[in-house]
């Protein structure tokens, strides 16, 4: 496969189809709209269905239905649209239904929404935050695997850089180990057999096949998420072994951190970088290890301070954790603003550690 210049939304759509996605429903809302456009034009040719839903709530409930038949399905929007989808995301989690949800967000202010969730009950959503289009292509395929493996809704946390920018990318299908057969999938075949199946968050079951009931079902699902937390955390770390200053960021901010770390190390500053790749499960153990011995753990996220809570929870020394990001949107409100800039980050790092430009 040769590299092609693809817009992120097109690359992600091809990756989803390569991963076996055969149902997609969504409602236009920038910067997610382009992914809906790409699915509308590419999915039918791959034998799939793409529906231009009449609302976000309708879209995710269509996808929930498709998932209940065992099909690999997906939906998406930006943070505002995902707010409408929260009830259905909880329902998917407590129905143990797999679904991939693309949040092509309008910035970084949806971290809590993705990691704490706004639905009902004990559930979490595995969330991957790629730092560029190339990583988004791999994450998309990984998410379809994880959703089926753990029977859970999962989220790709993208933004306008992921959705709109074009890069030379090679969307090659990735291989994953097989996932358990979907015996639970509904297709009508068990009707009249006396052992017909039901998918319902109350898990009552039927006369001949009684279910665990809400209490035990929800306990089991809560334990499942604890299990997932232990095995699915992912992160990227650089120069932590000798770092005195650790910069922590997520998503597309990561490429700016990498540039500034490279510059400051060349100037003799012992700086390292830590980037949670899964926002949930948060890579707490890895952060604790990377932050041990650091005199400064600086969190650079473009919101009012959300991931900093998790960093404080796991950092080796909570007292050295500081947020150096902030709310930053451009005029349209559709994308990050002036803080997304290497020169700004560099200045804030130097200020935070009490150094001025050129003082060293």
């Amino acid at each position: 496969m040769t590299k092609r210049l693809l817009q992120g939304s097109e690359a992600v759509a091809e990756a989803a189809i390569a991963a076996g996605c055969r149902f997609f429903a969504g409602y236009p809302m920038l910067p997610f709209t382009e992914l809906l456009e790409q699915m509308a034009s590419k999915l039918p040719a791959a034998g799939g269905v793409c529906i231009n839903a009449a609302s976000e709530i309708e879209g995710i409930n269509m996808a929930l239905g498709a998932a209940a038949t065992g099909a690999r399905a997906a939906t998406g929007s930006c943070g505002q649209g995902l707010a409408l989808m929260q009830e259905a995301i909880a329902e998917l989690a407590l129905n143990e239904l797999p679904l991939v949800i693309f949040n092509m967000a309008r910035g970084q202010q949806d971290y809590f929404q993705a990691t704490r969730g706004g639905g009902w009950g004990d559930y979490r959503t595995i969330t991957l935050a790629p730092k560029d289009v190339t990583e988004a292509v791999d994450h998309t395929q990984l998410l379809f695997h994880l959703a089926d493996l753990h029977r859970t809704p999962v989220i790709l946390y993208g933004d306008y850089v992921i959705a709109h920018s074009s890069v030379a990318v090679d969307v090659r299908p990735l291989a994953f180990p097989p996932t358990p057969p979907k015996v639970w999938a509904l297709d009508g075949s068990m009707t009249g057999s006396g052992r017909a199946r039901q998918i319902w968050t109350w898990a009552q079951g039927k006369p001949n096949t009684p279910g665990p009931g809400p209490n035990r079902a929800w306990q089991t699902i809560a334990e499942k998420y604890d299990h997932i937390a232990g095995i699915e955390a992912r992160h990227e770390v650089a120069h932590a072994d000798d770092a005195d200053i650790l910069l922590v960021s997520f998503g597309t901010t990561g490429v700016f951190v990498d540039r500034v770390v490279e510059e400051l190390r060349a100037e003799g500053l012992r700086v390292g970088a830590f980037r949670p790749v899964t926002l949930w499960p948060f890579p707490g153990a890895a952060l604790e290890a990377a932050s041990r011995g650091c005199s400064h753990v600086l969190v650079y996220e473009l919101n009012g301070g959300q991931m900093v809570d998790d960093v404080r929870m796991y950092a080796a020394d909570r007292s050295v954790v500081r947020s150096i990001g902030g709310v930053s949107q451009d005029g349209s409100g559709m994308r990050q603003g002036a803080l997304l800039d290497a020169a700004v980050l560099r200045r804030r790092v130097l200020d935070a550690v009490g150094l001025t430009e050129g003082a060293r």
Partner: protein, 194 residues
């Protein structure tokens, strides 16, 4: 660090997004790495339509925010101020002089004025002004091969607009003729610009 940045600006309806992608695809065909980040708002026709393109040898170290660009591709003056501050001194600025009447106040700028809209109108295809300026830009900078840009254009024109392909091709050729050849070469004067 062998990378060149191009900041595009124009108004909706000038085909700027397609032209910026054609240039990116031509560079990719020429063996270079590419990062293209569009910036457009809600209003389509007449609204702001910008793009930031970085071309260089792999691995590309460009960031999705360009703050000191090597060159500018200016189709209209309406949103010139949104890119001017992000041009480095000595930048190569190629403007569509039919719809850009301001002075290029970038220090030591090497600016080139090409009446792309008028040329396109004379060809009988006013919509292809973007490709006229692309031809001129490639002639002046040699940033990517003209032939590869023509191939890219053919792939990019949507099925419901193939009637424009021949016009766009003639527009690129007319642009090449209008641009002083290698007056600001992209790849040979590596030191000249710092």
């Amino acid at each position: 660090m062998n990378e060149r940045e191009v900041l595009f600006t124009g108004i909706g309806g000038q085909g700027l997004q397609m032209v910026s992608k054609a240039l990116g695809m031509a560079a990719l065909a020429d063996g270079r790495e590419v990062l293209l980040v569009p910036r457009y708002g809600g209003m389509m026709r007449g609204g702001k339509t910008n793009a930031e393109l970085t071309i260089g040898d792999p691995p590309l170290r460009a960031l999705p925010v360009v703050t000191a660009a090597w060159s500018a591709f200016v189709m209209h003056q309406a949103f010139w101020e949104t890119i001017r501050p992000n041009l480095r001194s000595g930048a190569v600025v190629v403007v569509n002089s039919s719809l850009f009447h301001l002075d290029v106040d970038v220090d030591e700028a090497r600016s080139f004025r090409v009446p792309a809209t008028d040329i396109a109108a004379e060809l009988g295809s006013p919509m292809s002004a973007g490709f006229v300026l692309l031809g001129a830009f490639l002639a002046i900078t040699g940033l990517a091969p003209v032939g590869a840009a023509v191939d890219a254009m053919r792939q990019l024109v949507p099925p419901y607009r193939t009637q424009h392909v021949t016009n766009n091709e003639r527009a690129i050729e007319a642009g090449v003729a209008a641009g002083p050849a290698l007056a600001a070469p992209a790849w040979s004067d590596l030191e000249g610009v710092r």
